[in-house]
Amino acid sequence: MKKFKFMPFLFLFIFLVEGMTGLNCGKKDDTYNMGVILSITGAGSIYSKDGVDALELAVAEINAKGGFLGKHQIKLIIRDDQTKPDVAVTVAKDLILRDKVKVIQGTYSSACAEAIKPIARENKVLHIAAISNSENITKVNFSPYTFQVVPNSYMQAQAVVLGVGALAKKNNWKEYVTIASNYEWGRSTQNNTVALLKKSAPNLVLKKEFWPKLGETQFTTYITAIMAQKPDFVIGSIASQDNASWMKQAGDFGFFKKIPYPGSLISVTELILQAKTIDRGTVGLCRAPFFAHMDNPIMAAFVNSFKTKYGRYPSDWAVMEYDAVYALKQAVEKANSIDTEKVREAMTGATIETTRGKLTFRTIDNQLSCSSYIGIVADDPKYPFPIYKDIVEVKGPDSWRPEQEIVDARKTEKK
C-alpha cells in the first residue's frame, strides 16, 4: 500500500492544475462574452450612458431570440474607462484576459480607442468604435480587428465644410475662430475642418484657435476671449459634458445671438438637454439623428423599443452603439460562427442593415459608409425638444478620405 501514499498529492496536483488552467471536464461554454468600455464617469459620461442603454437593449433583443446564431447567449461585461486612456488599457486587458471577451465595444474618447486598438490586435479580439471617431483610429497604424460605425472626424469635417462654405458665401463671412477640446478627437476634427475649409474657401481667414482642456468646466474666459476677436463665425469641436457646459455658458452670455456658430457638434443629446435654451435657427452637425431615418422600419422599431424601455428618445450615441451590436450579429451570421477570425473576415467589406439604412464597411480602413447630418435647429410638435429641419445628409462615400490619401499616410507612417 506504501506506493499509493502519493495518491492524495497526485489528486491535489490535478485539482490545482485544473483550477489554474480553467479546465471544466469537457463542458463547452457557448456564451459570447461582449466587453464594453465606455466613459461611465468623466467627461464622456452623458454620451456613454445612452450608449450603454442601447447596448443592453440590443443584447436583450438578441438574447431573447436565443443569442447569436440562436444558440450563443451574449454576456455583456461593462467597464468604465473614466475617459482616461491608461484606465482604458487596464480594463481592456482585464476584459480580454480575465473575462475572455471576443469583442470590445466602445469607447467614448478617441484617445482611449487608440490606446486599446493595439491590445485588441495583439490578442485577436474585435474592437468596434461606435462613439469615438478620430479618423486616426482606422486611418493609420491600421488594425484589421478595429471597425468604426460612426462617421469619422474627416467625414464630419467634410460635412461641416459643405455647410459652412455655403453659409460663408451667402453671408460674406471673412474671418473665423475655432474652439476645440484639447485631445485626440478635438484636435483631429478641428485640423481636418480647417484644412478642408482652406481648400474649399481659401478666402476665409482663421484668426485664432482656442483649445480648452478635456473636462473644462469654466468657459467664461474663452467666451469673452472669442468675442474679443470679433469673428464672423465660430467653429466648435467640443463634445459630451464639455459641450453641455460650453453651450449653456455661451448661451447665458448671449454668445450665440452675437456670433454665428454653424456646423458644430449639436447631437440629439444637446438638443434634448438644451431644449429650452438652444437658439432656434442654429446650424448644427450631428452623427446619427434618429429623426432623419424614421422612415426606416429598423430605426422606427429601435426608437419605439428604446422609448418604451427607458422613457426617452435615443441620442446619436445610442443609435450607433445599437448598430454596432447588430453589425456584429450580421457578421456572425455571415460567418455562421462566433470564431473571432471568421467573424472578422465576414465583417471586412460587409454590407449590413442598420437603423441608418444599408451601409458598407470600406475594406481599406473598416470604416462604415455612414452619413453625417447638418441641419437647422427648429421646433417640431412631434417631439418635446427641437430637432433639425432642412437636413442635409452627407453620405459616407461622398465625405470619407480618398483611399489613395490613406495609402500615402500609411507609407509615411512606415518611414
Binding site: 461611465i40 483649445w211 474666459t221 476671449a225 468675442m227 457646459s245 447665458d252
Partner: protein, 294 residues
C-alpha cells in the same frame, strides 16, 4: 482690439478668480489654523454642488429655490465638515504630512464613489432664475449677469472672513491658536472645539462655492479634479493660511488665465504653473504667507 473687450476679459478673469477664491479660501483657512492639508477639499466642493442640486430639486416649485439651495448647502456642508473633523481629521493632527495625504486622498475616493451611489453618473442642471439668466450689457459687450453675483459673493466672503478673524473674540482665539496652541489651551480654551469650528467653516465655504458653481454649467463627476490644481496654485501663490494671500492669489490666477487665453490660448495653463513654480522657488511660503510651522 478695443478697450471694452479688454475690460470684458478682465471681468472674466475676476469672476474666474473669485470662484477660485471661494474654493481655496476654506483650504487655506484650514491649513493656516490647523496645519492640515486637505486634499479632499475640492471633492467636498463637488459634494456642495450636488447637495445644492438636491435642495433645488426639492424646492424647485418656489421662485427662490436656487437662492435657498445655496444657503441650505452652506449650512449642511458646515455640519458635514464638523462630522468629518470629529470622526477623521482629529485623529491625525500630530501625524506626518504623508499620513494626512493618505487620509484625505482616501476621502477623495470615498466621496467620488459616494456621489456615484447617491446622485448617479448623470449630469445635473440647475436652471437660474430670470434675474441672473440674461446677459447684461457691459461696455457694449454682453456679460453673464450671474458672474456679477459670483464676484459680489466672493467679496462678501472675503469681508466676512476678515471681520470674523480680526474683529471678533473667536477670530482672535483662532489667530492666537495659529501661533501657540499650548498657550491658548493653557487659558482654558478648548482647542479641539476651535478646530472643529474652523474645519466646519472651511468646508461650509467650499459648499457655498460648490452651490454657486452649480448653476454655471452642469454638475458632473470629475469637476473637482479640474479645479483642484488651480485651487492649490492659488494658495501656493498667496501663501498657505493667508486670507489676503488667497484673495490676491486667486485674482492673479484668474487674470493670468483670462489674458493668456486671449493672447496665447495654447499656453493658458502653462502660465499659471510658471507663476506658481516661480513663487515656490523664490518665496516658498507664498506672497503673503509665513514660513511653515514645524
Amino acid at each position: 482690439m478695443d478697450i471694452s473687450l479688454i475690460i470684458a476679459q478682465f471681468m472674466s478673469g475676476i469672476s474666474h478668480g473669485m470662484m477660485l477664491f471661494l474654493i481655496a479660501a476654506g483650504l487655506s483657512l484650514i491649513f493656516g489654523v490647523m496645519n492640515i492639508l486637505n486634499f479632499a477639499h475640492a471633492s467636498l466642493w463637488l459634494v456642495g454642488a450636488y447637495l445644492s442640486y438636491t435642495f433645488w430639486y426639492i424646492l424647485q416649485d418656489y421662485s427662490i429655490a436656487m437662492w435657498l439651495s445655496i444657503v441650505l448647502t452652506t449650512l449642511s456642508m458646515g455640519v458635514i465638515g464638523m462630522i468629518i473633523e470629529i470622526v477623521l481629521i482629529r485623529r491625525i493632527y500630530n501625524r506626518d504630512l504623508s499620513e494626512q495625504l493618505l487620509l484625505t486622498y482616501g476621502l477623495i475616493l470615498v466621496i467620488g464613489d459616494g456621489i456615484k451611489i447617491i446622485w448617479g453618473v448623470d449630469n445635473k442642471l440647475i436652471p437660474r432664475p430670470e434675474i441672473v439668466a440674461t446677459p447684461i450689457d457691459f461696455f457694449g459687450i454682453p456679460f453673464d449677469s450671474y458672474f456679477i453675483f459670483v464676484i459680489l459673493t466672493g467679496l462678501s466672503v472675503t469681508f466676512f472672513l476678515w471681520w470674523f478673524l480680526k474683529k471678533t473674540r473667536y477670530g482672535h482665539i483662532i489667530r492666537a491658536a495659529v501661533y501657540s496652541r499650548e498657550m491658548v489651551s493653557a487659558l482654558g480654551i478648548p482647542i479641539p472645539r476651535i478646530y472643529t469650528g474652523v474645519f466646519a467653516m472651511g468646508i461650509a465655504i467650499a459648499g457655498l462655492a460648490g452651490a454657486i458653481q452649480a448653476p454655471i454649467g452642469s454638475i458632473t463627476l470629475g469637476m473637482d479634479m479640474s479645479v483642484v490644481v488651480q485651487a492649490f496654485c492659488v494658495v501656493v501663490i498667496g501663501g498657505f493660511g493667508s486670507l489676503l494671500g488667497t484673495f490676491v492669489g486667486a485674482l492673479i490666477v484668474g487674470e493670468v488665465y483670462a489674458f493668456s487665453i486671449l493672447l496665447w490660448p495654447q499656453g493658458a495653463l502653462i502660465f499659471i504653473f510658471l507663476v506658481t513654480a516661480f513663487i515656490l522657488i523664490v518665496r516658498p511660503w507664498g506672497l503673503f504667507g509665513t514660513p511653515m510651522r514645524k
